[in-house]
């Protein structure tokens, strides 16, 4: 069957001169049909229950369809078949009400048991707070002083078809969540703006991230590896570009990693203080600002600063970007409540913020000549 399909397909591929076909043949399982068994005890049980349900449905369906096709074949007028006259039978009708009911109970019991296991997130070894926002994830280790954002790393050029797409197209991030194997990890899941859903198929974990509320889920991963998922709840424009990547490491390696991260984040904080005293040149600020802008702002305000009319405002030629510098910094630092504009003070360093304000005030012909420094941002945040 698979063979016939791919044969017919190669003909089509030639006809349509579709480049995707040739490319994707390399390493990707193109005809993956079924749910993953995953890498946790729970995900394996979910898979088993899924297969049980599947086969029960196949049997019921086959029974119905066979009966139907028998009568379509034998009981047809063209064969001279004369219609019977029966049109009810209490016995049969009771039977096909009661038997399905019993089958349902047989399904409900294992399902309920598994559900209790899945929902029992008590006594974790480790807790991570997962916060969704348009369109990235934030991970905060509750037992260590480590937190970071995780954004899709696929380049825009791959999406636009200018570059070839690589193996993990759309499923790769700049910084993955790292967890230890063999430990019960609890995920506390919430959101800063709209509803998202954090989904890792290999863990059979999918939980909505609701703004203002916290959900929990858990996983105990046995094998080290890289596990990929996506946001599963429509969350606006870039919903399709919000992958989840989790790396599971042996506990010893994990401990090393987390200690490293803690040190790095500590140092970054000290560095920040030092940078406050330093001034960037216009060129430095513009270069850094462009990088920060494309990574954080361009999704809504667009790379050309023109925004999406009626949805996201333009920065090019906007009154705030041209004139009102304090307001510009305020919007960036504190966000605008009741809109998609987030508060970036907790997402970016002060020098990044300074650079991006500078960039926005000088790019796309905004040409104000304003150069903003980290200390200006610090003044806005801390009132100094």
């Amino acid at each position: 069957m698979k063979k016939i399909l791919s044969k017919a397909e190669s003909v089509l591929a030639v006809l349509l001169a579709n480049p995707v076909f040739a490319e994707s043949e390399k390493h990707i399982d193109q005809y993956k049909l079924n749910m993953t068994e995953g890498v946790t005890d729970i995900s394996a049980k979910v898979y088993d229950l899924h297969m049980l349900m599947f086969w029960i449905c196949v049997v019921i369906g086959a029974g119905v369809f066979i009966a139907m096709f028998i009568s379509m074949y034998f009981h047809r007028k063209s064969r001279g078949y004369k219609p019977a006259t029966f049109h009810e039978s209490v016995k049969v009708e009771i039977a096909w009400t009661v038997i399905p009911f019993i089958i349902l109970i047989a399904m409900a019991v294992p399902a309920a048991n598994l559900l209790f296991d899945m929902e029992d997130a008590s006594e974790p070894d480790l807790t991570v707070l997962v916060t969704g926002s348009q369109w990235k994830w934030h991970y905060k280790y509750m037992d260590n002083d480590v937190e970071f954002f995780s954004k899709m790393a696929t380049q825009a050029e791959q999406i636009d078809g200018k570059f070839a797409k690589n193996e993990n197209y759309l499923l790769e991030v700049d910084r993955a969540l790292v967890i230890p194997t063999g430990k019960k990890v609890r995920f506390l899941i919430t959101s800063d703006d709209v509803i998202h859903a954090w989904w890792v198929p290999d863990f059979a974990v999918k939980q909505d991230a609701n703004p203002g509320f916290i959900n929990d889920a858990w996983a105990k991963v046995e094998q080290p590896g890289v596990y990929r998922g996506q946001c599963a709840e429509l969350c606006g424009k870039d919903h399709g570009f919000m992958p989840v990547v989790v790396v599971a490491k042996e506990p010893a390696e994990y401990d090393k990693w987390i200690a490293e991260q803690q040190a790095i984040q500590q140092k970054a904080k000290e560095e920040e203080q030092r940078l406050l005293a330093m001034n960037m040149t216009m060129d430095e600020a513009m270069a850094l600002g462009e990088k920060v802008y494309n990574a954080n702002c361009a999704a809504c305000h667009m790379p050309n600063g023109e925004g999406l009319p009626g949805v996201f405002p333009a920065l090019k030629g906007s009154q705030i970007a041209l004139e009102d510098q304090p307001k510009h910094i305020d919007v960036l630092v504190n966000g605008v409540t009741g809109t998609a504009m987030q508060a970036y003070a907790k997402q970016l360093s002060m020098s990044d913020l300074a650079a991006v304000v500078t960039y926005e005030r000088n790019a796309w012909g905004n040409n104000t000549g304003d150069l903003v420094q980290a200390k200006d941002i610090n003044a806005a945040i801390n009132g100094k």
């Binding site: 119905v64 009568s71 006259t85 609701n210 996506q230 009626g310």
Partner: protein, 530 residues
């Protein structure tokens, strides 16, 4: 079974007063005219929503963004869903009810003919408003047909006001249509037409109408709360003001789940009319069909949160909604078993309406079975918001509701026009649709299980090959509907062989006892049903 008084004399008399041209259609209070209006409107909406689906499938033909930007893609999925649900399926069923309910119960018209006119004529405006929002600054609604808050409130564009207004009008139209159906059925049955003698199409529509009256106001409430949250500073769905975004989903699905049965119960009625005709055998288990319909309708009020298993409900609630949802498959099963038992030892022929009805039974059953899988909460965590769900609801809605509507049109069209439709075209339409619809929707099960989320404009490479097939199936299904369009135009030009009053050899019921085409005024003197 019945005696019909000859009323052709009256018809001649009335025929003189029918205004012509646009006025006839604007002012009409005739149930047949209004039925025709509803059906054409639904078909135009079906093609409009279909065109949007073509945009979606063209974008998803291969990985990467080629044709539309993600924001417009979201508008397409949203408006496609709204147009198909509220513009195609529901008006088509209302159109069928208008044509058929009076003829099936021996009534001269609907009980409230002026309201009937009104409930139709506000609909085009609702959709004009909705569709025109696509061309305004910021574009149309982009938050999915389920318009979850706060994506539809704080994070939507100002066009949301138009969406809300449009939904209000659609709701008002549906409620008026439902009142009309109920009043007609309760008061205007011919003497001797007791409830348990009514054709199942009448029964299922009666129950559907009660569902509509129960839940359309809930939808109206939901959109109104979205409106005030967005524009007037309330916080129904905003935690910062003491509200709860998940409450939105409870309210929406309290409407939404009965809504999906609103879109399938009349289909059950249609199939229950067609199968006995072409099996030449009475419907098996008439009474149990009625009870099954009623129990489905009642159960449909207590299963809504099966759409919300991942929102973080307490385990007790998850269990309740899982069990209740599983329960609903029992009466649904009874229906399918009854149809098969009706065919069993019948004397079957396979005219076009029967072909659609048989396809319905098989493909709807597939959709029902995937529904049963979705009901199992622990596994639904994996299925939810993937293409597996998309496959499920397209099997029940396209090969379910839409196929039943097509079956109904083929079955009753000769009665309406007095001419047999072009059978060759109809068979082409059927076979092209049947093959393409499965190429379109069946592989969605696979990509869904393999992990492809729904409502995304671009996808990872492992989904590429199935998506290409799905798109090809989609284009083929879209094109197949043009055959239907050609056939309908021919039928409206009254081309084809004249047919008898009974049309189909095995057809039974009052509508087959009047001449074909059905006179403009039928049953002015009620027939007597024995």
């Amino acid at each position: 079974m019945t005696t019909v008084t000859d009323d052709s004399h009256h018809d001649d008399h009335h025929e003189h007063h029918i205004p012509t041209g646009i006025k006839r259609w604007l002012y009409t209070t005739n149930h047949k005219d209004i039925g025709t209006l509803y059906l054409w409107f639904a078909f135009i909406m079906f093609l409009t929503g279909g065109a949007m689906a073509m945009v979606i499938r063209a974008e998803l033909f291969q990985p990467g963004l080629q044709i539309v930007d993600p924001n417009f893609f979201n508008q397409m999925t949203t408006v496609h869903g709204l147009v198909m649900v509220f513009g195609a399926v529901m008006p088509a069923f209302t159109g069928l009810a208008n044509w058929l309910v009076p003829m099936m119960i021996g009534a001269p018209d609907m009980a409230l003919p002026r309201m009937n006119n009104w409930s139709f004529w506000i609909l085009p405006f609702a959709f004009l408003i909705l569709l025109s929002s696509l061309f305004m600054e910021g574009g149309g609604p982009a938050f999915g047909w389920t318009f979850y808050a706060p994506l539809s409130t704080t994070y939507s564009n100002d066009g949301t006001a138009l969406f809300v207004f449009a939904v209000h009008i659609m709701g008002a139209s549906s409620i008026m249509g439902a009142i009309n159906v109920i009043v007609t059925i309760v008061n205007m049955r011919a003497p001797g037409m007791t409830y348990m003698k009514m054709p199942l199409f009448v029964w299922t529509w009666l129950i559907t109408a009660f569902l509509l009256i129960a839940v359309m106001p809930v939808l109206a409430g939901a959109v109104t709360m979205v409106l005030t949250d967005k524009f007037f500073g309330t916080s129904f769905f905003d935690a910062a003001g003491g509200g709860d975004p998940v409450m939105f989903q409870h309210i929406f699905w309290f409407f939404g789940h009965p809504e999906v049965y609103i879109m399938i119960l009349p289909a059950f009625g249609i199939i229950s009319a067609i199968v006995p005709t072409f099996a030449r055998k009475r419907l098996f288990g008439y009474a149990s069909m009625v009870y099954a319909t009623a129990s489905i309708a009642l159960l449909s009020f207590i299963v809504w949160a099966h759409h919300m298993f991942t929102t973080g409900m307490p385990v007790g609630a998850e269990l309740f909604f899982m069990f209740a949802t599983m329960l609903i498959s029992v009466p649904t099963g009874v229906k399918v078993f009854n149809w098969v038992a009706t065919m069993w030892r019948g004397s079957m022929t396979f005219e076009v309406p029967m072909l659609f009805a048989l396809a319905f039974i098989v493909l709807f059953t597939i959709g029902g079975l995937s529904g049963l899988m979705l009901a199992i909460t622990p596994v639904d965590f994996q299925y939810h918001d993937t293409y597996f769900v998309v496959a499920h609801f397209h099997y029940v809605l396209v090969t379910g509701a839409i196929f039943s509507i097509m079956a109904a049109v083929y079955y009753w069209l000769p009665k309406w026009t007095g001419k047999m439709f072009h059978i060759g075209l109809a068979k082409w339409h059927f076979w092209c649709s049947l093959v393409s619809v499965n190429v379109l929707f069946f592989p969605m099960h696979f990509v869904g299980l393999a992990g492809m989320p729904r409502r995304i404009p671009d996808y990872a490479l492992q989904f590429a090959d199935f998506n290409k097939w799905i798109s090809i199936g989609g284009f083929a299904f879209g094109l197949s509907q043009l055959i239907f369009l050609a056939l309908l135009i021919k039928a409206c030009k009254k081309q084809g062989e004249p047919v008898s009053g009974q049309v189909w050899e095995g057809a039974e019921g009052l509508e087959w006892e009047i001449p074909s085409p059905a006179p403009y005024h039928s049953f002015e003197t009620p027939p007597e049903v024995k």
